[in-house]
């Protein structure tokens, strides 16, 4: 039996070692989230690092202690103490209630600070700077991007200037989705009848990967898009080229575009109908509701919303987010 067990254990170890090696070999690339190209993604990565460090203060000793205890107090080790009645110790229990409480308290303070700092609707531009505004609509199964100030629109591709705050305004004309460019920063939902805001910035020129993150039906997997960050000059040139594109998006064209379709090419439109984005948002809003923005950091608006929700809910502080369309 002893021999059998040791061969089993040896087989197990070699399998683990083999797997880890394969993992390292296959995973030598740069992981997008760990290789940020913008200030938001950078801060999110910092936060991930802080969390891992704080957790490790507990995790690493626990793993070591587990191994030591299991090894030392195995039944076959007759030298070890055996105290079958020892089941309570105030000091020890205080320690292991105390340490996690302290660590979680530290992490909570950091999280609260970062949550406000990284609130997606907060602009990254200084007072004097001008933001690039891109309006985004998730459709079945493609992304429509509109540049209201430039008057151009694109499908499944965007170009942005480096080092400038980009303000994404997002909605959906299909089931809810989520807009994510991992190298630039975290995602936000796109929802019908609502306009969300997300601010990102690219530190350097490059081609970044963008994707839909919330399942929206059959060909959801096809909803990826490219993000080209360029120099300011290249950006101007790209806009000028786009304006000369032979395609234009009309209202009828949009109706066609909004229908479900699977394989969508990247496209650039020289123009799109004025106010299309607002029409998509209000399409699902009933009378009397006003267009207001979500993910807002402004504290009085939020206060108002939670007050509504507080009155609205019999179950604790629920429904904050769900009460938005309700008025």
């Amino acid at each position: 039996m002893g021999k059998k067990r040791s061969s089993l254990v040896r087989a197990a170890f070699s399998a683990v070692v083999l797997a880890m090696t394969m993992l390292l070999l296959s995973g030598c690339g740069n992981y997008m989230v760990l290789d940020p190209k913008g200030p938001i993604a950078q801060k999110q990565l910092d936060l991930i690092g802080i969390t891992v460090l704080l957790c490790s203060i507990i995790i690493v000793p626990v793993l070591i202690i587990t191994f030591i205890i299991v090894w030392r107090y195995r039944a076959s080790n007759k030298k070890a103490d055996y105290k079958p009645e020892w089941a309570h110790n105030n000091l020890l229990e205080t320690i292991w209630w105390g340490i996690p409480i302290v660590i979680i308290a530290i992490l909570a303070v950091i999280t609260i600070r970062y949550t406000h700092e990284l609130e997606p609707s907060k602009t990254l531009a200084a007072e004097s700077e001008k933001e690039v505004v891109i309006q985004v609509a998730s459709l079945d199964w493609k992304w429509l991007f509109m540049y209201p100030e430039e008057g151009i629109a694109t499908i499944n591709t965007i170009t942005i200037p480096e080092d400038r705050s980009v303000r994404f305004e997002l909605t959906s004309d299909a089931p809810m989705n989520s807009f994510w460019i991992p190298e630039l920063g975290g995602q936000i939902y796109t929802m019908s009848g609502m306009s969300m805001a997300l601010h990102l910035k690219a530190d350097e020129p490059g081609d970044y990967f963008g994707t839909a993150a919330n399942f929206s039906g059959e060909y959801f997997a096809n909803m990826t898009f490219d993000v080209h960050a360029t120099t300011e000059a290249d950006y101007e040139k790209w806009v000028a080229d786009a304006k000369n594109s032979s395609d234009t998006l009309t209202d009828e064209g949009y109706q066609e575009l909004a229908k479900p379709s699977a394989d969508n090419e990247q496209l650039v439109y020289a123009s799109f109908p004025e106010g299309l984005y607002e029409r998509i948002v209000t399409k699902y809003m009933h009378d009397g509701a006003e267009l207001h923005e979500h993910g807002s950091a402004s504290s009085d608006e939020e206060g108002k919303q939670s007050a509504d929700a507080g009155a609205a809910s019999t179950e604790a502080e629920g429904h904050d987010s769900s009460s938005h369309t309700g008025h």
């Binding site: 009933h286 009397g288 609205a312 809910s313 019999t314 179950e315 008025h327």
Partner: protein, 205 residues
């Protein structure tokens, strides 16, 4: 592990060790069931409150709901709660006939309540407010209707209990059923008070 010397004293039932008083268990079980039912209604109330503005340009509650009929309904249901209490009192005095009469009165009042509710629903549908009209009306009909279904189930349940009492008389089993039923009926009454204030009064006022 010594054998239990105190089993006779610990349990209400004297004829077998380890046998627990079934009425005691049922009553506790029913209380917990009522907790779950409270939560179901809370969820429906929460839904109603979230969606109350969602009339989608259609008719609003203030336009269509009529408070007069509701006052009569409320009166019927509250009275039926009172008469079900009288039935329980009669039960404790072992007055079977009196108890059955009070139960029947309770049932008739409950049936009257359901009749008025159906009448109200038909009226609303006639006025163009249905489940499909808007989120507001969907949640209105679902919330009020769920209460109505509870009352209806209660009526059938009560009929079943009356038949059993006529057949088997009052004993700890049938007494337990009456107790649990009256608990249920009072509970529906309490839910109705919330319905009245949150759905009707707040909507119309």
């Amino acid at each position: 592990m010594a054998q239990s010397p105190a089993h006779g004293a610990d349990h209400h039932d004297h004829h077998a060790a380890g046998h627990h008083d079934p009425q005691d268990l049922k009553l506790l079980g029913f209380w917990i069931f009522l907790v779950t039912d409270v939560l179901m209604f809370s969820t429906l109330f929460a839904t109603f409150i979230v969606l109350r503005g969602g009339t989608d340009g259609g008719p609003t509650g203030a336009e269509l709901l009529e408070i007069n009929g509701i006052i009569i309904s409320t009166f019927l249901l509250l009275t039926s709660s009172f008469t079900s209490g009288l039935a329980v009192l009669a039960m404790h005095q072992n007055k079977v006939q009196q108890m059955i009469i009070w139960l029947i009165v309770t049932g008739l009042l409950g049936a009257g309540f359901i009749g008025l509710e159906l009448n109200e629903f038909l009226h609303l549908i006639h006025e163009g407010a249905t489940l499909q009209t808007s989120a507001f009306w969907s949640s209105f009909f679902t919330l009020v209707g769920t209460h109505g279904v509870h009352v209806t189930v209660g009526l059938f349940w009560m009929i079943a209990i009356i038949i059993q009492i006529v057949r088997r008389g009052l004993n700890s089993d049938t007494k337990g059923k009456i107790t649990v039923f009256s608990l249920y009926w009072h509970f529906l009454d309490a839910v109705w008070i919330f319905l009245l204030s949150i759905v009707y009064l707040m909507e119309v006022m």
